[in-house]
Subunit: 137 residues, 4 copies
């Protein structure tokens, strides 16, 4: 059984680049966000659907490893893959150059379900996620 | 009668600066935001209080005139002054170098009241604003 | 003679949206930037080419008129059109909903040429711009 | 021997907050940046001084652990402490509520020296860093 993956392509905007002429490291979470939203869209469980189902999924952990500088106007592909889902939603990311496929960065995020509107943390993922992943009927 | 004014000081962060080594023009609205929030705080009508009173005040017009480039680590002072309030809230801004007082940028925003949660536009400002401004009892 | 135009499509990211659930007004300059870069690419005069030619073109004036709130995950089309070029580069923008075509915002930017690396302002646009626009041989 | 530490205070801006009414997780690197700059300023080795000395120090690793949601208008204190310096510059961060001292997030960044302008990675930190840290004469 394979867990879902998705990709987002980004044309690096000028305003993401710093005085060194490279993307400021703190802007990479935006690229992860684009791929994560594509992934959640692909499993039919986007942020709107999460909220309708009574949950939000705040990020509680973020890791980023920068491999090679990314520059203005570079076309990059950000891939996202679900790695854990039972107790928390762990997504792994890789950023590659669209033309060469060279890996530029990697990382992960961990999210946990909280009930809305009281933000109470859930120690197991809601059953709905397993159904969205096709792991439960 | 003088309308209220307020100031916010900003130490320009690295991540606001672009490959030319200057603040990217699209980051200035953040500086205006800091001064606007200080101003609304000063009249005891911050965003939280706005929402509690049943209104939001979205910005419907923004103008920015860039006079001189702003650089990383520069200390700037952003001033905000209410210019109109009866039908819409017009605030004028100036950005100055904290040390020399030299003017670096100016501009304005225009906001209108909308009711919450339906976002219905109000063609006159709610009476509460006049009271907050000390113009009505 | 028609001056060049270009478009950029944006899928509004979560991180551009504020606690009211709409795009924070200060994020719109990013959308203009995407369309401006597409336009400059179309006339073969992107930022890299500007710098190689000895000039930068800082924005000296920005105007934004917000017509209708933009929301997370909305697909928008940002168009950019050159309106003036002889003494300064004035670009007009419109943001529309990709599906309905409804206009959501409009505005303009004005840029002037400065020489690099000394940032000396030029009161006429360099001849290269006219050539890029196909207005001079 | 104690390695240097520094703090930066931030009044959380509206534009850092997302539709859930909390700071979007991808904005925390900005808070780290503010504390890191304060720390580098404190040891007299800010970005300008780095570049003058022939080096840049790109971030190659970032970790963030989100403990408790941060909200608009909350006053937070971001502390930064040097943890490693010989082969790479590792800085640990904590974000606390300014009023209660409650911890809201923690994390680290790892930077390595690269020579300018060729971005060649150095496997030992330049001696200048040790001198700035008061560890070498």
């Amino acid at each position: 059984m394979t867990l879902p993956t998705a990709e987002a392509e980004v044309l690096v905007p000028f305003n993401d680049c710093d005085p060194l002429g490279i993307v400021w490291h703190g802007n990479y979470p935006r690229y992860f966000e684009a791929a994560r939203c594509a992934l959640l869209e692909a499993i039919d469980y986007n942020y709107g659907q999460m909220m309708e189902s009574g949950y939000a999924w705040p990020v509680i952990d973020l890791h980023l490893r920068y491999v090679k500088a990314i520059r203005f106007n570079q076309r990059i592909v950000v891939s996202a893959a679900i790695e854990e889902w039972e107790h928390r939603l762990k997504i792994a990311y890789a950023i590659r150059d669209a033309a060469s496929g060279e890996r530029l960065a990697k990382g992960h995020t961990i999210q946990v379900a909280v009930t809305l509107p009281d933000f109470e943390m859930q120690f197991a993922s809601p059953e709905l996620l397993a159904r969205k992943l096709g792991l439960k009927p």
